[in-house]
Amino acid sequence: MSRVTRLFRSAPAYPLLLPGMVWLAIFFFVPMYYLLDMSLRTGNLLDGFNQVYRFANYGDAIRENKEQFIRSIIYAASATALAFCISYPLAYVIAFRGGRYKNFLLMLVIAPFFTNYLIRTLAWETILADHGIVTSTFRSLGILTATDKLGFTSGQRLLATPLAVVTGITYNYLPFMTLPLYVSLEKIDKRLLEAALDLYANRPRAFMRVTLPLSLPGIFAGTLLTFIPAIGDYINAYLLGSTQTTMIGNVIQSKFLTFNDYPSAAALSFTLMAGIMVFVIIYARILGTEDLA
């Protein structure tokens, strides 16, 4: 018996990993290699890109797009925070009070996904339009004056403002926050809460000491599943924003598709990815989720 077959016999799980590994290799590692390779070249589409190992591509790309990087982080973080504030109570109510309507309520949460992403975002363009009912109501209530002052909106409009972009991102990624939160809340044994109440914790304290810590894995998964795609998103900024709300995703998109500046687009993509990776590692350390799972 060869070594390999023996390994497979003693650990029947390995062959099951094979399809995933092949997928990862072809569609992740190989493209990653080409991306990295491209990010160090110079040239243009007509004459070709020559490999010169120009690491300065990174410095240039980051320097030129610092503003968009920072904006992306702020928008993605705001959208994640907003989604969390909406999702936690929502998931909590479905998990603890949903009763036999649980599945129906969960379906409602993902119902928007039945519509195409682009269509959904375009719908928001209509909702937030200058002469739409939302904008005029907000305007007459003086809300826009306040948000203008805070810099969330400008010129008494909703569309083409940071608020519109963040709202769009929040809306589009909300289920990615709600579902993991629901799963972790649903798993909590209700008797643990009774035990906390029995041991002299009132309801807010029981929540803080038991429910919240036990839902940490869901908070961790939900925030990452929202934040990571949100930071690279460009559709919302493209459809609901203006030149003042350009995110890093928009820059990468235009460099790749409009200017055909592949090396600097690749450098930006790589930087974004590395940044997210570092962030995830730090975040995991802070939340200490290894302990919980």
């Binding site: 044994d189 008797r191 643990l192 035990a195 109440l197 029995d198 002299y200």
Partner: protein, 372 residues
């Protein structure tokens, strides 16, 4: 006389159309160990949860000592619970689990808390387990932690909801003795819910047998066993032989197939005419047909052996009487096995009048399904 620790006054709890607890009045004395015993759905757990504050009664009042606590949330009641399946906080260490209650009440310095937790873990024989997580414990250890976590708060009353249900038989026996020891040591009122009659008898000094939301009978285990007042209690606690009889005079009844039996006089004071008399199987003895007539003032009933099963310490006989009643008799295996009666043999069954109990209610004995 001292005030009872817990008092339920005409408490009713309704879930939809179902009355889980029906006009129940019950009081628990300070420092006692009371078991609420009954089949599932008899309302024992609901009763416990109303004392703990997890359910509000539909009607009636719950008192802790002098205080009316009806409507108070659990965290405002001087009561702690050992939950079924323990409900230990999985994200906390054993130390933090046990310290939870005193911390929530803002009790003491770090040093004081550590000392109290240490004492408690020692009481339940788990010293040195402070840093472990609940998932690293066996069932018996988790059970002890749950106990320590409740007792550290020095509650007025400790509620135990089927605390040993998840343990295997051997561990259960061990924990029964352990619980009793701890109860004596801490001298706190224990109210213990169980469907296991043996568990209730081993630990409790008073048992309340519940059925359909009401208490059938409450008393020390011996009294309930020797003098059950209802067919339900007689059938739920151990095995009972019960036959219908008619009262014929002071202390005498006539069984339906004609035999006259004597019973304790005071047991007939109710003035009932038709009733059932009962005897526990181990209180009966078997004699060969035609002999043993001179066995003093014992009652005698004749019948045929239907079945004999040897179960080690004793032999179980099923005797069919002339009236068609089946009697179960346990005979201690003190003699040689050759002396056992064989199926088909005609025998006499003897028992002392004072071992006879009288059941005046007319309900059927609970079936096995009802007991589970």
């Amino acid at each position: 006389m001292e005030q009872p620790d817990v008092r339920l006054e005409r408490v009713t709890k309704q879930f939809g159309d179902v009355k889980a607890v029906d006009d129940l009045s019950l009081s628990f004395d300070r420092g006692g160990f009371v078991a609420l015993l009954g089949p599932s759905g008899c309302g024992k757990t609901t009763t416990l949860r109303m004392i703990g504050g997890f359910e509000e009664p539909t009607a009636g009042t719950v008192y802790l000592g002098e205080q009316d606590v009806t409507g108070l949330p659990p965290y405002k009641r001087e009561v702690n619970t050992v939950f079924q399946n323990y409900a230990l906080f999985p994200h906390m260490t054993i130390f933090d689990n046990v310290a939870f209650g005193i911390r929530q009440r803002g009790g003491g310095s770090k040093h004081q808390i550590a000392q109290q937790v240490g004492e408690m873990l020692e009481l339940v024989q788990l010293a040195g387990f402070e840093r472990r997580k609940p998932t690293q414990l066996s069932g018996g250890q988790a059970q002890r932690v749950a106990l320590a976590r409740a007792l550290i708060n020095k509650p007025r009353v400790l509620l135990l909801d089927e605390p040993l249900g998840a343990l295997d038989l051997k561990l259960r026996k061990q924990m029964q003795i352990e619980l009793k020891r701890i109860q004596t040591e801490v001298n706190i009122t224990f109210i213990h819910v169980t469907h296991d009659q043996e568990e209730a008898m081993t630990m409790a000094d008073r048992i309340a047998v519940m059925n359909q939301g009401q208490v059938e009978q409450i008393g020390p285990p011996g009294e309930l066993y020797e003098q059950p007042r209802t067919a339900f209690v007689a059938g739920f606690l151990g095995v009972s032989n019960m036959v219908w009889a008619t009262v014929t005079g002071p202390g005498t009844v006539q069984l339906h197939e004609g035999t006259v039996a004597r019973v304790p006089q005071e047991s007939l004071e109710g003035g009932h005419k038709e009733l059932r008399i009962g005897v526990r199987p181990e209180k009966m003895r078997i004699v060969a047909n035609g002999s043993g007539d001179g066995a003093g003032d014992a009652n005698r009933l004749d019948g045929t052996v239907k079945d004999v099963s040897y179960i080690g310490v004793s032999t179980q006989y099923i005797i069919e009487t002339a009236a068609g009643d089946e009697l179960t008799v346990f005979a201690q295996n003190v003699g040689r096995s050759a002396e056992r009666a064989a199926p088909g043999q005609k025998v006499g069954v003897l028992w002392d009048p004072e071992h006879t109990f009288v059941i005046t209610d007319t309900r059927e004995v609970p079936t096995l399904e009802e007991q589970l």
